[in-house]
């Protein structure tokens, strides 16, 4: 997992910055996108091992991005980051092929664990 590339997607630049910085600290290769559309463009061009995406974004949201990303790379692991997960949306997550959820605010420890960098 250590040399795998992660794609982080969030419309909130600050959140994205924190995730990028944290991943660099863990020694992960990471690229970022600020929207679902941008993320799809990157996914079509390159190989990623993990997609870390926000749920609520203007335009394409996390769920739409996840199902389209799975269509391109069925083996891609997808983790959803969200501050707002209404109970009625929970069943939709596994349907969209999402492997894990991290509720914001999350600790770096949790991020490390979900990315597979925990010693």
């Amino acid at each position: 997992m250590k040399n795998a590339t992660i794609l982080a997607v969030d419309d909130n630049a600050d959140c994205l910055q924190v995730v990028l910085q944290a991943c660099e600290m863990f020694g992960a290769f990471i690229r970022s996108a600020s929207s679902g559309e941008e993320a799809l463009y990157l996914l079509e061009g390159d190989q990623f091992s993990l997609l870390l995406t926000d749920l609520e974004m203007p335009g394409m949201d996390g769920l739409q991005l996840a199902s389209q990303a799975k269509a391109i790379h069925p083996e891609l692991r997808i983790v959803m980051m969200t501050g707002n997960l209404p109970p009625e949306k929970e069943p939709l997550l596994s349907k969209a092929g999402i492997d894990g959820v991290m509720e914001k605010p999350f600790t770096l420890q949790k991020l490390k664990k979900i990315l597979g960098f925990e010693e």
């Binding site: 600050d14 959140c15 924190v18 944290a22 501050g83 209404p86 109970p87 600790t107 770096l108």
Partner: protein, 366 residues
């Protein structure tokens, strides 16, 4: 026969007996006195009719007639013109007894109808007030539901950035460094903010209750382990019910949360050296068996004004309280078909009673 009826009957008997004795022992050459006694008989008859209705009136008139006739026959003999008036008086006794009895019964019936309609009106008024209260609560909760999405997104996202940033910065300092301590403050305070948001979300959009077979005593014990630490810190005795309790259909996790909220409130309200007692009792009444859990404390008690509002969301009397604990608790208990009630005396303590319905025989089989 109750005491009041007994006294009334005794009074009537004394009244009639007294008048009859006066009739029998007053010499016949004082007819004026006899005329007075004869009319006095009407009083017990009317009283009996008022007190006991038609049956009372007629019964009393009959008794008077039976007591009076021997006096007429044996003492006055047959003096027809004089007697006719007396015999007519006997008829009159019975007419007065019957008519007064009928009228008083009719009045009694109307009084009862009025009383009943008054009671119906009262209960309808209470229902209206209750429904209004429920509507207000529902309205508040639906506003809460809408608010929750905004709160969740607009507060937790930046909270995530703050917490992450603080954690990244923390890496550059060693414990003991002044700046390390400041970063700890950032982390501690953002965790506190997140707790408030989480409690708010729990209230605004509760997870659907998962009803399974639930071992109530186990849940209480699990909560007690946490509460005992707090009790020990505050030097408060915590007493739990002994023995076992029947299972109920419920969501163990949610019930634990409800019990913990109640217990912590009780502990926070109780001064050092005080006592918090949890008692459990199975109550059986036809069709509504249940378990009653009582949480008593020897704290400062709750004023009437606080008691009225203590289950409202965001109402708190504690420093740093979110005002959501008890309103979440009530929601959980009500989702289990139960109820929660408070009794409190200022200066003596508070008692919170939780009633939970018991698994019915049919439900156990299901």
């Amino acid at each position: 026969m109750n005491r009041r009826n007994f006294i009334q009957i005794l009074l009537l008997a004394v009244f009639i007996g007294g008048i009859s004795l006066l009739h029998y022992f007053t010499p016949l050459h004082r007819p004026m006195l006899h005329d007075i006694y004869q009319r006095l008989y009407h009083l017990p008859i009317i009283l009996a009719a008022f007190w006991f209705g038609l049956r009372g009136g007629l019964g009393c008139a009959l008794a008077v007639s039976l007591l009076y006739i021997p006096h007429l026959l044996l003492q006055w003999g047959t003096n027809l013109p004089m007697d006719l008036e007396r015999y007519l008086e006997i008829l009159l006794y019975n007419v007065v007894g019957g008519v007064t009895g009928l009228l008083s019964e009719r009045e009694e019936r109307q009084r009862k109808i009025l009383e009943e309609s008054n009671l119906t009106l009262q209960s309808q008024a209470e229902t209206i007030v209750r429904i209004e209260d429920e509507l207000r609560r529902a309205e508040r909760l639906s506003t809460l539901g809408e608010l929750s999405a905004v709160v969740a997104h607009e507060i937790r996202n930046p909270l995530g950035s703050i917490q992450g940033t603080a954690e990244i910065l923390q890496d550059d300092y060693q414990p003991g460094d002044k700046k390390y301590e400041f970063i700890q403050i950032l982390l501690k305070e953002s965790a506190r903010l997140n707790r408030v948001v989480e409690e708010f979300l729990r209230l605004a959009r509760p997870r659907p209750t998962a009803m399974t077979d639930c071992h109530l005593m186990e849940e209480l014990r699990a909560v007690a382990i946490l509460a005992k630490i707090e009790a020990k810190n505050r030097q408060i005795t915590l007493e739990l019910p002994k023995g076992e309790l029947p299972h109920i259909k419920g969501d163990g996790e949610k019930l634990r949360q409800a019990f913990l909220n109640i217990l912590l409130n009780a502990l926070h309200a109780t001064p050092r050296g005080g006592k918090v007692t949890v008692a459990a009792e199975v109550f059986e009444s036809d069709g509504a068996d249940g378990i009653s859990l009582t949480f008593d404390d020897t704290g400062s008690g709750i004023s009437e004004a606080v008691k009225e509002r203590m289950f409202e969301p965001f109402y708190t009397t504690k420093d740093g309280g979110t005002g959501l604990g008890l309103s979440v608790t009530r929601r959980i208990i009500e989702a289990h078909g139960g109820s929660i009630a408070v009794e409190s005396k200022e200066g003596e303590g508070t008692s919170i009673q939780v009633l939970l319905p018991l698994m019915r025989k049919g439900m156990e089989a299901a």
